[in-house]
Amino acid sequence: MCGAKRMSPLERFLDTFLNPRVIGKYWPDILDGLIVTLELAIAVVVTGILVGLALACLRAVGIRAANIAIVCFADILRSLPPLVLILLIYFGFPNIGIVLSGPMVVYVVLSLVLAAFAEEIFWAGITSVDKGQWEAARSTGLGFAQTLGYVVLPQAVRLTLPPLANRAIAITKMTALGTVIGVPEILYQATTAQSFSGNASPLTLGALAYLALFLPFVVLARWLETRFAWRKA
């Protein structure tokens, strides 16, 4: 847009951040990105939570060596910034013959990170269930797995829902990091469109796409928090 006529500050702002022509041209790209982000997010949440739950259950079995390995896994993945792992795997692994696509790298890294956090949250939930519950259930003749599955986990999961929801949102938002390694998700599409169009409107559109995707879950997590308070006073 050339500045043939003088624009008021508001017009200039709208022209820069909400330009109808640019939005009309690039919204299909952002929509493509939204679908990629959505697919990655679903895959990460499902894998991360299931792996985390499995690790927490394995930890409840109480094999010393396994527990040390689980704690180390959870600690390391909670300590490292995900972007470090993404760069390491995407750029480092091809040199030793392991080539993973960009989306695959993001999926693997974020799933592992979510699994680490989910394991800790589930474990905190499991340990918060009173010991008497275990003993009572076992004494009625239930096996270990039955006690865990039918007695302990249903009570533990209720406590874990709010922190788990918040953590899952925070980690799935990190799919935006995929843009650094060229994964065609929302942010990548938005920055590409921004540099082609020379206008910031695609970024606004991208931000709106994230809001559309995540805001319902943020509100849901807030509701869960008031519904199941994590710690009773």
């Binding site: 390491l88 650094v180 910031a200 970024l203």
Partner: protein, 221 residues
Amino acid sequence: MNQILDQFLNFQVMGAAFPTLMAGLLTTAEICVVVILLGLAGGLGVALGSLHSSRWVRWPSIVLVDFFRAIPPLVLLIFVYSGLPFAGIRLSPFAAVVIAFLLNNSAYYGEVYRAGILSIGKGQFEAARSTGLTRAQTMLYVVLPQAVRNVLPDLLSNTVEVVKLTSLASVVSLGELLYAADMARSVTYNASPVVMAAAVYLVILWPLVRLVSRFERRLSL
């Protein structure tokens, strides 16, 4: 096996990259100090806002928090760094990082403080007010000290997240730890500098992560 060691634990490459990485670590430390302090202060403001008696303060605060919890921090950073120049606002990478993370962290710290303040019984407010303390004094001397103590593990765990978040600054070419490591990697065609950066993050953050887990276990008992 040798190839793996050569690619990921090449001490020669690590030695050469060491000074650059330490300079990067210093920048990371600078970002952390600024961003954590501003986030703690901003979060307190947001928390007080979201618990304000007037709904004209309360609702905007809550909407703002949810907005920034729904937007990925990298999107915010790129918007501030490469979107605002279109409106004539050109910021240095450092300023962009500070502004973007201030917005993001205030929302997250705010939620932590809020939970802490809500965990204090109403009786505390009433007792303090009836001794003649003003509302501000009650908050400052009675409620906040207890509230902060109650949510100390969450504050710490959020701070760990903030330190990890500073690695995003590499995307806007701010020369922090990860940026330095990735530069060294692209120059040497060897991933060892990134492994070294990972080790540095691990050395700094693992003890804190352990501490958080410990805290949480003690509180749940």
